[in-house]
Structures are given as C-alpha cells and as structure tokens.
Amino acid sequence: MDCTLVYLVAYAGTLACIGAIAYKVRSYIKKPVHVRWELYPVAHDSERAAYGGSYLEDADWWKNRQKPSFIAGMKGLLIELLFLHLTLETNTKLWYRTYPFHLGLYLLIGGILFTCLTAVARIMGIEPGIVLTAMGNIVQVLSVLGFLGLIAGGAGLLHRRLSQPDLKRYSTREHFINLCAFILLGLIGLLTWLGNPSFFVMARDFTVSMITFSFAPMDSFLFSFYITFGFIMAAYVPMTHMGHFFMKYFLYHDIRWADQPTQDNPATQKKIGIVLGFPVSWKASHIQGDGKKTWAEVATTNPTKPKE
C-alpha cells in the first residue's frame, strides 16, 4: 500500500520533536544568570555526596576547593534516570507502576537506536553477519519488552490515578489522555510484533526507506499505524510536562547541583554585571520600579533614608 503519508508524518514528527527539544533547551540556556539555589546532596562532589556534604564544610574553602567531578555528576544523574531512584525512595507504590512504564520507553528508544545502526549498515552495503543478526534479535526482544512495559506500567499508572483519591484530585484530562495514548501505542506495537514474522525487519526497512527517501511501501497496516502514531507522540511529548526527560539535565545540573562559587567563574561574574543593569518595574512603595531604574540602582537605594 502507498505509505507516503506515513513517511511525511514520520519526517514531520522527527523535525517537530527535535525542534521542540531545541526550542526548550535554547529558551532555558538563553535565560540570564540566576542566583544559586542548590540542594544537597550534590552528586558531583564525589567525596561528600554520600552524606550530603559540601566544600562549605572547610574553613577557607576558597583556598583548596576540590573541582566538581563530571563523572560523579553524570553517574548521579544516570542512576536517577535509569532507576528512578528518588521515586523508589519517596513513593515506592508509584515506582512499581512508573518504573515499568519508563523502562518500557527506554527499551523502545534502545531498540530504535539499534534499528538505526542496522539500517545504516544495510545502506552501506554491509552484509548481515553475526553482529547485525544479534542486533536484530536484540531489537525484537527490546521491542516486545518495551511494549509490555508501556502497557503494564501505563495501565498501572492509569489505575492509580483513578483509584487513589489524592492523586485523582491532581490528575488532569491531559494526564489521562497521555497515559491512554501510551497504552494504545504499546498495544498497537505489541499486536504488530505478534502479527508479523519480524518486527525488526519491518522497522529496519522502514528506517532505510526513511533515510534514503525511497518511500517504500509497507505490507502491514498495523505497522504503518504504529509508525504514524509513534511519530505523532514523538512530536507531542517534548511540548508537554513530559519534556522533563531532557530538561531534567538542567534541573539537576544548573539548579539543584549548581554550587560553583562565583569567584572561580569569570563568565558568571560578567553575567552578574549584566543582570544588575536590568530595569526593574516592581510597583511596591519600597521599590518604586519605573521600568528605567536598574537592579543595581534599586539595590543600592535605602528606602528608609531621605533621598540625597
């Protein structure tokens, strides 16, 4: 069957997903410097993270401050991302539902990456050997486990949102729509996987076709539906609160763990100079911002003293 529309949706979905992520990331990093607002433990302090300590525990800390460990920071973030460690600690009942859901997504993303590799290998004319065959088998396994995770976890989350009064009160239409959409995606994927000889081969051939713009026809209606729905979801997710999957990096590294003192950081010093020149328009009588006075001027004005 002619699947041009499916390919067009796939291209549009890919572009929209990348565009939305880029827009959100750019709009975050373009913001001016903010004050420090860290929260301990800070993972990149490799010596003290275990008990929540910081370099501020040393007298004259500015003389011998240990540099933050990039590896320890990434390790902390990865443990959180891969195992949803904080949810396990603070909300264990929810973790039993949300972890399969997230794990399902991770497995599917892993499957997509392997599929892309095999597609590139095919385009380059590499003969399928042991490695590529193994990768195909891995995709088969990752996909079915991913679908099951999405369905089981999504259903568990849906049930919890409906059955727990405290969670129900805070659940919106959007939560239910999102969860139903993911469960549906998992179900279509699972049916496609069960109803066809090889989900992997279909996925790889589709990827080859997409990369080479050959718009090859697809035999399975379910698979084309899965692809269409999947790319629509890919475009939609970063635009919602579910964008936390990439914004978490900034929430952790730029806010929660941002303990770098200004004195070590000429770039931050320069940025502080800029924000102190921003105009203030807060109206309260002790500020009287008129949209022209700067932060520096307002902060150096003592409202209790007569004007000079």
Partner: protein, 529 residues
Amino acid sequence: MKAPLNLRDVSTVRGNLADIAEEDLIQLPIDMENIPWKPLGEEAKDKYCCLLDDMLVLQIPRPQTPREEEELVNRFLEGMRKLFTPENNWTFLPMLETSMNYCAQCNSCSDACHLFEASGKNEMYRPNFRSEIFRRIYKQYIAGEPFAKWRYGDIGLNWMTVARLGELAYRCNLCRRCAQSCPIGVDNGLIAREIRKLFSQELGINPPELHDNGSMLQLSTGSSTKMNALVVRDNVEFINEDFSESTGYEFTTPWDVEGADILLIHNAGEIMAWPENIAAFSIIFQAAGLSWTLSSDLAAYDSINYGTFYDDVQFARTALLHAQAAKKLGVKKIVLGECGHAHKALTVIADRILPQELNVPRESCFPILRDIVLSGKIRFDQTRNDFPVTLHDPCNVVRLMGINKPQREILRHLCPQFREMTPHGVENYCCGGGSGFAIMSRNNIEAWRNNISGRRKMRQICGAFSECLGPETKKYVCAPCSNCKGQIREIIKHSGLLEKNSLQYGGVVELIVNAMVDVNPGFIKWEEE
C-alpha cells in the same frame, strides 16, 4: 475529618477553607499542650481577607466593592507576569518556570512535608496544593497555553483565589524538603517564596514582622531588634562584663578592627535573647587567638536578612550592607554566627548578587569552630558535657548548604552521650519556625507553630531521647540557629518541658564553652532564668 479540599474550592468556598481538628494531629510521647485556636475577631475579618483557617499572616486588605475585588486580581496578575520576565525576576526565573512546566503531579513531595504529616495529611498543607493552583493560573493567564482550561481544569480566578494563595504561601516553612524528594527537580518551596515575593514586590503586602519591623528596620536603624550601633555596643560590653565574671574567664569583644582576619556577624537577636551565645563566641575566638572583629556599621552587626523569605530587593539591599562593611574594614573573610538563614543568604544566594569588588569570602562558623576544638589549642573536660545531647540540623545550613559534618565532629568530640535524630543531616525536618515564623506570634501563628509546624520536630526530639524522657535526666537539644532556637524555646516553654522532661536547648558554642577547662563549670544553665 472533613472531606478533603479540591483545588477549585479555593475560588468557590465562602468563609474558612480549612480547619485542623486536634484529633487529626500526630501523637507525641510527651505531654505537649496545644495552644487553643481562637477565631479571628470581627474587626480583623472586616479589615482583612480572612479566608483560610483563622490564621492571618499576610493581612491582605479585604476588597469592599466589586471594583476593588477586580483590582486585586488585576494587580496580582500584573505581578505574576513580572515574575516570568527576565528583567524583573532574573534571580529565580529558570527555577520558577521549570517548576511550572515539568511537574508530573505524582505527589511524591507530600510525605516529605512536616506540615502535611503533622496536620494529619490535611490537604491545605500538601506541598502541591498551592503550587498547582498557582501553576494553573500561570498556564491559563500568563503562558496562555492552548486549551489550558480544558486540559488542566479551571480553578477559577477571583479575589478569593488571590487572597487565599497569598495566605497559603505562608503555610510553608520554605524548608525545601519537598523539593529534595522530587524526582524531577520541581521546587514547591520556591513557588511559595515566589508567591510571597509577588505580594511584597508588586502589591506591597508582606508580614509586618518581616518587612516593617524586619528588613525596613534593619535598613533604618541597623537591626530588626531596633538596636542602633551605640546600643548594640553597650549591650555587648555588658555581656563581656557579666560573663567574664560568671565564667571566671576575662574576655573582650573587639569592634571595628581594621585589617582583622575575620568579621564575625551574629544574629542580633542573640544579643537580646541568648547573650550566652555571644559570650561563648567571644570566649572561644579569644582562647583560640584568632584575629577577629564585629562591625558597628549599619546592618553589619545583625546577620539577619529577612528578604530571604519574601523579597529579592530587600534581600539584595541587606546583603550589600553586610559586604560593604567587610570591605570597609579590609577583613579577609566574613564568618557567620549561629543563624541558619543568614548562612544561606550571605554565603550562597548573595554569591550571584554581589558585584565582584564586594565578593568578600564568606563562610560558616562551624568549620572554624571544628578546627579550633580539634586543634588542641583549648583544653576540654568532656565530663562536663556528660548528658544526652541531640543535634537539630537547621535546613538552611544542612540541606541547603551541605554543612553537615563540622558540627557533628564537635559534638562527638565534646559530648559523650551525643545521639542523632532520625532522620538527620540533609533529610532533617524543619524546626517549624522556618522562613520567619519564629518571630511571629499574633493571629494564631503561635498556636500554629506549637500545634502543627513544630510537631514533627518534637517527635524527632522525643525519639532521640526515647530512653530518658523523664525529668530525672537532663537533656540538651543542640539547635545552632537563632530561628530554630526561638521555635524550640517557645515549645519547651509553653508545655513546661524543662520542668516536666528536663529538656534544655541551645547552640553548639555553649557546649564548647561548657566543656572548657579554663571556664568555671556550669556555663549551660538547667533552670529558666
């Protein structure tokens, strides 16, 4: 218990939104007496928006006409828009915006909150309750998200919503334990602070204890205690004389010494309420042979910075005065005395507010005290501290700054019966007086602190002393923060826990001096004076 609140109730319910029944409060193993909750008077109800729970922190003038009601909403929205502009809110915009956009509504934060737990899980205290109201207003009116009303639900924005949201921002101690438990990094404590800020910076509405009698008084006279430089120097002189005599250790407190290594800034409230803390610092620093000084410059003898709790502009003004005093004296560093919010304010938050020329190094007193105690410069007799001691971790010092070990190393060295609370360190619970409440006592605030906000901490304290709760064993709650001490003092005093349970409180430095061989025994007093 009544049916739990729904978010929309904030705009529809007439009269009080919530009440806390005494039987819902968590139980304690000691005889703690609740302070009766008195209904607010008719005068207050006519004058202010009393719509939450018969506690009145913010005193928002009650609109008298539909036009005034509309004006309150419009001014609120105007302020809210400013909160989301980089020019007006560069200080906290990224944290606020991400907390608006990425919350998954999993409510993992709820069980982390001492207020939610202590109140018997009253919905009003769920950390996400006020945040989600604010978030929905943001999405519908500020961000203008497509179909926001349909997607998230309409909570209804009217003058009651605004008034309740303002007051709800003061049903939080800003301890940020909820933020610590959030897997995504959403910060409900920050949202409460931003709402407070909106009311202060745009509408000019703030608690008088924090603003008129707090930061404004500090900017005019130098201290929220009303002490000017002359009075503060007189009082410290009196402390020197009085404690030199009682301790048998002759000491002085240096003032305005140019070129000293250290500018020590105390919370001036200590001078009035806990002079032994001031004396203890002077004794220790003198015994250790440090080069140090206090400053009598405007605001520089009082480390408090109440702007931390409600207003960025007031915060910046005070922090600048502290830094300017240090610069003027040419000291090598500022050391902060036992005041938690002052620690966080000047060391961390001010770090990206002070221009580089005023960025004098700043540190906590605990590392330097630890180094002194462990250095062997001072002789100690640990048997003088041979009574059960537990440590309260001030949120600002521990969870928000990571200063965890130094104070413990001191206590382990000097106090043979030191024991931890559960949980402790970065997972501690707030004392219940955090974010300015410890200095407020009107309109049922005192009852709130005693019955609800301080309850979880008291349970922890009881747990730490579980085997010796009776009056026969003297026990010491070490709370190295003026605000926390104020809160714990009130609870101990109201229920007579010093008499009934021999429960005393104080800071770290008092324990150090109490164990000093060169000081007469008995620095810590076990009776009320």
